[in-house]
């Protein structure tokens, strides 16, 4: 039987791939490259500067990210000279209390790696145990794989990763998820960067019981808790972004609020600040409406001491 052959002339098989990077020739030994130009071309400074301006404090974290960026930029240049072409291991672990900016930094990191050409897309997929681990036998593997596929080309951010491993139950499905992640961290290194996040001490014991995971993590970055000054500065920044400000008498009250809140359970650093400001805005709006006066820009933007003093944090006094 003859085929319904209506094919036109075959296109030449060695056409360049449409999306792929242009083939770069290896530079000869005597050649030099302009570092300033290379750096400008990669546009990483925009991301690094944004990291600096968007996040208060976190000096050590910012330095580490800059170091990693420098390393990758140099690595890329070395590859152009034909030196060490293998891709560096980029999986990381971010440790620190809740609300210390781990997710935010991971987002910037994804963008950075994208600009440096280590990630094709540079998006962030943030997940927790529930997104990875199934409810019954055979449920976990497809679930984990689906999440991994969604994160391909970007960063997979696993918050509180230690919940994947339950010491008290050997047959917990979390173990299966860990094994798939381990395999993927090894085999799909070109496609995905994994960032594990959580409290320092719990992460340490997680690594102690999962040495395979520990050995696949190249960078450990610790996120310190914020000082009271930093929290206040973060609050100022959030207010500015939202178009509010603290009245002169409110500043010390807000400080006092932060001091008390820090002492309380479930303090979540910057996130607690954000929540406190949200509630202050609620009280502010309620107060203005209850008074029923005429208001101008001044009243609409200024938070007064009573907007904070209404908080439960001041109850115990």
């Amino acid at each position: 039987m003859t085929s319904f052959d209506m094919r036109g002339p075959a296109p030449s098989p060695d056409e360049p791939e449409p999306d792929g990077p242009p083939a770069v020739e290896t530079l000869p030994e005597g050649a030099t490259v302009d570092l300033i130009q290379e750096r400008a071309d990669s546009h990483i400074d925009e991301v690094l500067d944004q990291l600096d301006t968007d996040l208060v404090g976190l000096a050590t974290v910012k330095t580490r990210i800059r170091e990693i960026a420098a390393l990758l930029l140099i690595d890329r240049l070395r590859a152009r000279f034909g030196l060490s072409a293998s891709r560096p291991n980029l999986h990381m672990c971010f440790t620190g209390s809740p609300g210390t900016g781990k997710t935010t930094v991971a987002m910037r990191l994804a963008e950075l790696l994208h600009r440096l050409g280590y990630l094709r897309r540079g998006h962030l997929v943030a997940v927790t145990r529930d997104d990875l681990v199934g409810q019954y036998v055979g449920h976990t593997a497809p679930k984990t794989k689906e999440v991994v596929k969604r994160a391909m080309g970007g960063v997979l951010f696993i918050d509180e990763a230690y919940y994947l491993y339950r010491t008290e139950n050997e047959r917990d499905y979390g173990q299966e998820s860990i094994e798939i992640l381990l395999q993927m961290m090894e085999n799909d290194r070109d496609d995905i960067v994994v960032v594990l996040a959580g409290y320092r001490d719990r992460m340490d014991s997680f690594f102690a019981s999962n040495p395979g995971m520990s050995s696949r993590i190249a960078h450990h970055i610790d996120f310190p808790d914020y000082s009271e000054e930093e929290l206040a500065a973060i609050g100022d920044m959030m207010l500015r972004d939202a178009g509010y400000r603290l009245g002169a008498e409110t500043v010390p009250v807000f400080r006092e609020y932060l001091r008390r809140r820090q002492e309380q359970p479930r303090f979540a650093n910057a996130r607690s600040v954000r929540n406190a400001l949200e509630r202050a805005r609620l009280r502010h709006a309620g107060r203005l409406l209850a008074a029923g006066d005429r208001v101008g820009i001044e009243e609409l933007t200024t938070l007064q001491p009573e907007d904070f003093l209404g908080s439960r944090v001041f109850d115990s006094a």
Binding site: M1, T2, S3, F4, D5, M6, R7, G8, A10, P11, E17, P18, D19, G20, R120, R121, H123, P142, E146, V148, K149, R150, M152, G153, G154, D188, D191
Partner: protein, 138 residues
Amino acid sequence: MRITQGTFSYLPDLTDDEITAQVAYALGNGWPCSVEFTDDPHPRNVYWEMWGLPMFDLVDPAGVLQEINDCRRAYPAHYIRLNAYDAGVHQTMALSFLVQRPAEEPGFRLDREEHGDRRIRYRLHPYVLDRPAGQRYT
């Protein structure tokens, strides 16, 4: 006989790079992709086996390629196709093409069936269907 089915079927088989570019195009349009396979080449066989579930919310084609390759490993001699579904206004398959075919495709035979009043019915019969499912292209 080389089966022609789906988009690009009159072109030479796509390379993995070409498949990747097509998947990237589909994802760029927000079309979730899925992988299906069969060893029944009859053109009326529209319901192929699903290889896993459709993949939603993917950004990058690498995940889809991985599933295609897993399916190829499990069914090295089956037909495998990639579908991209437009869940937007069109609510239909937007793109579907073969990503693997058996090395040998024996083709079809035409059966004639006599009927009353000297009528004749014609029927397309894939040679491979004479063998049990799963052993057709080995």
